[in-house]
């Protein structure tokens, strides 16, 4: 994203008959060019503002925001995979059952077979990868539409959940396992009113960001590309650093960064890199945009499709682990309908249902929109039928607003 914006500026500068643009011009240009990408964020902020007012500020409290992030975590993790799946023109309906099944397997291993956290996780992930491989195989090599393959998965995996749990909840999990879903980074100095370790992590993030940004600038200069004027570059770096500080600060001032959120952040970073910077990711977009052209460009479509579903299997498994850890139990209905939330998050975040377009960052915003609606309305203790109706309408309006003002195709 950042990259695109500067290239546009660079090219504009070139076409503008060699005259170097003023800072004001650059700012206005960037804003105009990118305003559109930010409309869903704007919609999110409006929703947040609304809930903050009607809940007398409870909504925006660091405690509630921490909760909100945790409440969205499992869905957001699954949604990251869903973006790749959908960009390639597929869909995954099996997520909810997958989450239920991998959770049930983990609980079974831990509670019945008395395994430790590490073995449990390792085996569960192994099984999740195999299930992903299985689905991917049918999509990629069996040429069965993903809709059908994953609908079969939705059914079969739920059968597996019922077989394993026998309708019982399986509980409780080990403390270390539980921590994945419920735990916070421990403080070094428990006397502090905020989490010192979390603050430290925040500082590390900021440093990483700054190093990345500086490297990028250096490299662009080396290539002889236009870069932002120093003053703007610094402003940008300060701005983003403050944003990171703010988000981490919110969590640090409550109980610290939850492990689940750290995991989610790692997944976001990794999957953004996969989507935007890796050849694999680029191939996914190409396949979703024009399968035939992708094939003629030398892309092995079957392999990419297989890979997508293996990754999706991995993420569904991680989501299953986080979900089970958070509930501290595996239940027969665990995960039901999560696919719908994951798909909705992706679509709200701009992923096309017809493939070819979508971003990881967008789906996170989407997951936050969905999660905020649930969270905010339950804070308001609104009547359920009203909750359903209002949630539906706000969803519609938020996406409409985004489309109207961002003109995404």
């Amino acid at each position: 994203m950042g990259n695109a914006e500067i290239n546009t500026i660079a090219k504009n500068n070139q076409t503008a008959l060699g005259h170097t643009k003023s800072i004001r011009e650059i700012l206005v240009g960037t804003l105009k060019g990118n305003m559109r990408q930010y409309t869903m964020i704007l919609a999110l902020l409006v929703i947040w503002g609304f809930f903050t007012i009607v809940t007398d500020g409870i909504f925006i409290s660091s405690r509630n925001l921490s909760n909100l992030f945790l409440q969205c975590a499992a869905t957001a993790i699954a949604a990251c995979g869903m973006v790749l799946v959908m960009v390639a023109g597929h869909i995954d309906l099996s997520v909810g059952s997958f989450v239920g099944l991998t959770g049930a397997i983990a609980a079974q291993l831990m509670v019945k077979a008395h395994m430790g956290t590490i073995e449990t996780i390792a085996i569960t992930i192994g099984i999740g990868l195999l299930l992903g491989l299985f689905q991917g195989f049918w999509v990629a090599y069996g040429k069965v539409p993903a809709f059908i393959v994953t609908l079969a998965g939705l059914l079969a995996f739920r059968g597996g959940v019922i077989a394993i749990t026998g309708g019982n909840s399986i509980a409780p999990m080990n403390d270390t396992f539980k921590a994945i879903g419920q735990g916070y980074l421990p403080k070094i100095n428990p006397g502090l009113p905020f989490s010192d370790t979390s603050a430290l992590i925040g500082v590390v993030f900021i440093i990483c960001y700054l190093v990345f940004e500086i490297n990028k600038r250096r490299s662009r200069i080396k290539y002889g590309f236009e870069v932002l004027p120093m003053s703007l570059q610094i402003a940008k770096m300060v701005g983003f650093s403050l944003l990171i500080a703010l988000v981490i600060g919110i969590m640090a001032s409550y109980m610290g960064i939850p492990y689940a959120i750290l995991l989610l952040i790692a997944i976001i970073v990794i999957f953004t890199v996969i989507a935007e910077k890796s050849t694999f990711g680029r191939h996914i977009y190409a396949i979703g945009g024009n399968k035939e052209a992708a094939r003629l460009s030398g892309i092995n479509i079957n392999k990419v499709n297989l890979g997508i579903f293996v990754l999706m299997g991995l993420l569904s498994t991680i989501a299953g682990i986080v979900y089970t850890a958070r509930l501290n139990a595996a239940t027969g209905s665990a995960g039901t309908n999560m696919e719908l939330d994951a798909i909705a998050s992706a679509v709200i975040g701009g992923t096309s249902t017809l493939g070819g377009a979508g971003t990881i960052a967008g789906c996170i915003i989407g997951a936050l929109v969905m999660g905020s609606l649930d969270n905010g309305m339950s804070l308001m203790n609104a009547n359920v039928s009203a909750q359903y109706i209002v949630k539906g309408l706000i969803l519609l309006l938020a996406v409409w607003f985004d489309i109207k003002f961002s003109k995404r195709s």
Binding site: G167, Q182, L327, N328, S333, D374, L379
Partner: protein
């Protein structure tokens, strides 16, 4: 008239009942609402066991909490030539037309666990759902005098949830009216899902800055979710919370002290009694009703069993001594 039963027999059980109806073995049809909750898994197991002992066939269908699906499945049971139907309805009103179909085919119907309203029922046997709610409400009022409570109900789309809530209200409403209780959150738990209960509880705690003194959770699954939220605030065990179904994990939590109570519905007894009554009815004998319950159409002859509230004090006696749960499962790590 129903067609001949032709399912494979499970060994030549020398049950007295089977012998009496000449060459034809009795076939019971059983339709259950779900298998995603422990209690219904047990109901199924008990009845299959009882049928095996009695030497009769039993065909079981599970409707996945879908009234239309249950209706179809009962049709399929009728097609298989069952002699009697034990129907645990997903939806008490919607099941009426299902019952009519069975009656049209000359098959008698036992309403199991949940009363079917608005049509003729041959026998009803249950732990009264309203009663279950009463036990929950009663327990909470006994363990909490005054304070802020969270009142969760079951799925908003589930008729039974309404019945549980009605029962609980008998005890809670007076306290609320008198101002002793302040309901700070009153929400149904969509789909009975524990993770939905968890989110609701987290939000209730946040909105009230942890100032919550009691929780009415409609069943053990949702109680489990609430307890995770309480635990995160270090409140697990400090806030009385209800449940129902006597799930193993709930029993563990009761021992641990994080869950206050659950409700024990000894489905084994109910299941055995149902199979017994079914066989009697096929043979034209009296099933032995001990009560009558009105279902808006008639006074249905009923066999009612008592549900019991279980807490730390009586858990060993009620759940373990009765053999419902194993001691090593409940106390073992």
């Amino acid at each position: 008239g129903c067609g001949a039963s032709n399912s494979a027999s499970n060994g030549s059980a020398s049950g007295n009942s089977a012998a009496s109806s000449a060459d034809k073995k009795i076939k019971i049809g059983l339709s259950l609402p779900t298998q995603q909750e422990e209690r219904w898994v047990r109901d199924k197991a008990t009845m299959e066991e009882a049928a095996k002992k009695a030497g009769v066939d039993i065909a079981v269908q599970v409707a996945n909490m879908d009234a239309a699906k249950q209706d179809s499945q009962v049709e399929n049971l009728i097609s298989q030539g069952i002699d009697i139907l034990i129907l645990a309805p997903h939806d008490a009103k919607a099941a009426a037309s299902t019952v009519d179909k069975a009656h049209k085919a000359g098959i008698k119907v036992i309403a199991y666990d949940r009363l079917i309203t608005g049509t003729d029922i041959d026998v009803y046997m249950s732990f009264d759902n309203v009663k279950v709610g009463e036990l929950q409400g009663k327990w909470l009022t006994e363990h909490l005098d005054k304070g802020n409570i969270v009142w969760l109900a079951g799925a908003p789309t589930d008729n039974n949830a309404t019945l549980f809530k009605q029962g609980a209200a008998k005890y809670l409403q007076p306290k609320i009216d008198s101002g002793d209780y302040k309901v700070v959150m009153e929400q149904p738990v969509v789909d009975w899902k524990p993770d939905n209960a968890l989110k609701l509880m987290e939000n209730a705690l946040t909105a009230n800055n942890n100032n919550i003194q009691g929780v009415l959770a409609p069943n053990d699954g949702t109680a489990g979710g609430c307890i995770q939220a309480l635990a995160a605030q270090g409140l697990a065990g400090k806030v009385p919370i209800t449940g129902q179904d006597s799930e193993l994990s709930a029993a563990k939590r009761i021992i641990e002290g994080t869950q206050g109570m659950t409700v024990f519905k000894d489905t084994r007894k109910l299941g055995e009694a149902a199979v017994e009554a079914a066989i009697k009815m096929v043979k034209g004998e009296d099933p032995g009703a001990n009560d009558k319950v009105n279902n808006e159409k008639m006074d249905v002859p009923s066999i009612l069993l008592a549900a019991e509230a279980v807490d730390k004090d009586n858990i060993d006696k009620i759940l373990i001594d009765s053999g419902y749960l194993k001691k090593e499962d409940v106390y073992g790590k």
